[in-house]
């Protein structure tokens, strides 16, 4: 079982991204449980969403406290909350940032870091800083846990409030293509 925590800000679609990812994973035959963390809904406030995926049935309907994968879809939210909280040795960080991986100040126990200049891509495609579907492409590249094709299929089943399907498919593809993955060498604990 993998436990994923997504960090974003209200209005960026972190919760919607977790639902799209859940649909894509089910398409590939996985079991999923995606739960948004609860807060008062307001634009700009830090938002967290949780997602478990497994090849076997997932029974617990609980939040996630030790995510082996953390996806940060907003470059500034790491200044407001501890995005690394609870991550085990060898965890994977997927980060929206304009920096290179070696420019980031990271905790010592990460196994892998993936960076994607998602704001730049978002301004190209959406003319706005909406990074959620871009970072799903980055997640696919960094983890190999879901295919771009399945993500595209899940996008086709999604109602988008702010943009069209074609733009979001481009977002996932560019997110995947323009993500750099760096292995840091820390092995995941058995």
């Amino acid at each position: 079982m993998h436990e994923v925590r997504l960090h974003g800000r209200g209005g960026q679609g972190a919760v919607l991204a977790s639902a799209i990812l859940a649909a894509a994973l089910v398409e590939e035959g996985r079991h999923v449980m995606a739960i948004p963390a609860f807060g008062f809904e307001r634009r700009g406030a830090p938002v967290v969403a949780f997602l478990r995926l497994s090849d076997t049935e997932i029974r617990r309907v609980t939040n996630i406290y030790a995510p082996d994968i953390v996806v940060v879809i907003d470059p500034t939210v790491a200044r407001a909350v501890d995005v690394y909280a609870g991550m085990p040795m060898g965890g994977t960080l997927v980060m929206a940032t304009s920096k290179h991986a070696d420019e980031l100040v990271l905790p010592p126990h990460l196994g892998k870091v993936a960076v994607c200049n998602a704001i730049h891509i978002a301004m190209d495609i959406f003319k706005r800083q909406i990074t959620n579907t871009i970072m799903l492409g980055a997640f696919a590249k960094a983890t190999g846990l879901v295919s771009v094709a399945s993500l595209e299929h899940a996008l086709a089943e999604t109602d988008f409030r702010d943009a069209g399907l074609r733009q979001n498919i481009e977002a996932v593809r560019r997110g995947y293509e323009e993500t750099t993955v760096v292995t840091l060498g820390k092995e995941q604990a058995a």
Partner: protein
Amino acid sequence: MSKTIVCDGNEAAAWGACLSRPDMVAVYPITPQSSLVEYLAKFIAEGKMDADLMDVEGEHSVLSVLHGACLAGARTYSATSAQGLAYMFEPYFRTPGLRLPMVVSLVTRDAVSPTCVWGGQQDAMTVKEVGWIHMYCETQQEICDTIPIAYKVAEHPDVMLPVNVNHDGNYLSYGVARVELPDQAVVDAFLGEKDVNWHACLDPERPMAVDPLTGGAGGVGPATFVRYRKGICAGMQSALSIIEEAHADWGRRTGRYWSPLIEEYRMEDAETALVTIGSMTGAAKDAVDEARLDGHRIGLVKIKTFRPFPIQRIAKALSKVKAVGVVDRAVNFGWNSGPVFQEVLGALYHLPQRIPAMSFIGGLAGADITVEHFASAIDRTLRLAAGEMATAPVWLNEND
């Protein structure tokens, strides 16, 4: 053909309602129910659902409008939570007395004050003595499947009572998982020909009075009132077997056999047991498995049907254990315990021996009941079995 979708519990409930073909829904939005009624409106706008939607000014009107529709023979549906249920209470109380076979989802939420908008079962537990049937769901799939089952139970001539299908606010209402949508033809065959309210149709061709003035201390008043009250009790008791039959029938048609009254998990050789209700149960099962690996013979009883309370089934399931820990997501202020705890005590009284039990309260106002919380509850219940009595409830999130 059934169809696989990935959706949250509110959408699963909306699909369950849609597949049951209600004639009328009336809605007023409230967190955490709001997206459920938005899905209903969307289904109707898209032509997926052929129902009249009444967008009224508050929950009192929601249920009052549906009373009229149901008395005229319509199949009806709505959903609410917490303060919405409070505002609905006046017609809510009338519904079972009028023997209206309605289905209303309670997207359970804790009750103010202090202010909170998050999940907890205080709302549903507060209305447990009104005469509605209450069923609690564990998963998104169970929500979708239980709503058609609820109509089958409610409209059965031996029941004729309203049903609340309850799902936990937040964890289930917004939690996303895989759901198999049954084929419409399967649900149609399951529900059969629509004959919602055969006993009291508002029909100009067949005028009749409903809701007579009864009671008092003379004439036919007292006996009439007793007859009404006993009728609700009789319908409730009939419901026990009809709920089982409806779940079995659903299982034969869909392949999904949900435990209708209670589910017993690893109880065959259990020496201690947890009792759970709703979406907390999955984490509790994981904790039971871990305790079993440590050599503890512990099992779990999940309550699905809370009203009518399956007294005999619960007593039988717990008859061989040395101690019981009951986990509630609400508070019984009068007993300094959880409400389900007190119900389980009542069931245990039907056994010849005295089985010690203790109350755990967790998950209030959106708090999480984790596998670790259940591990601590199991540990404390094992100590209860060893003789360490408890005089006060354990508040699982007190130190979170």
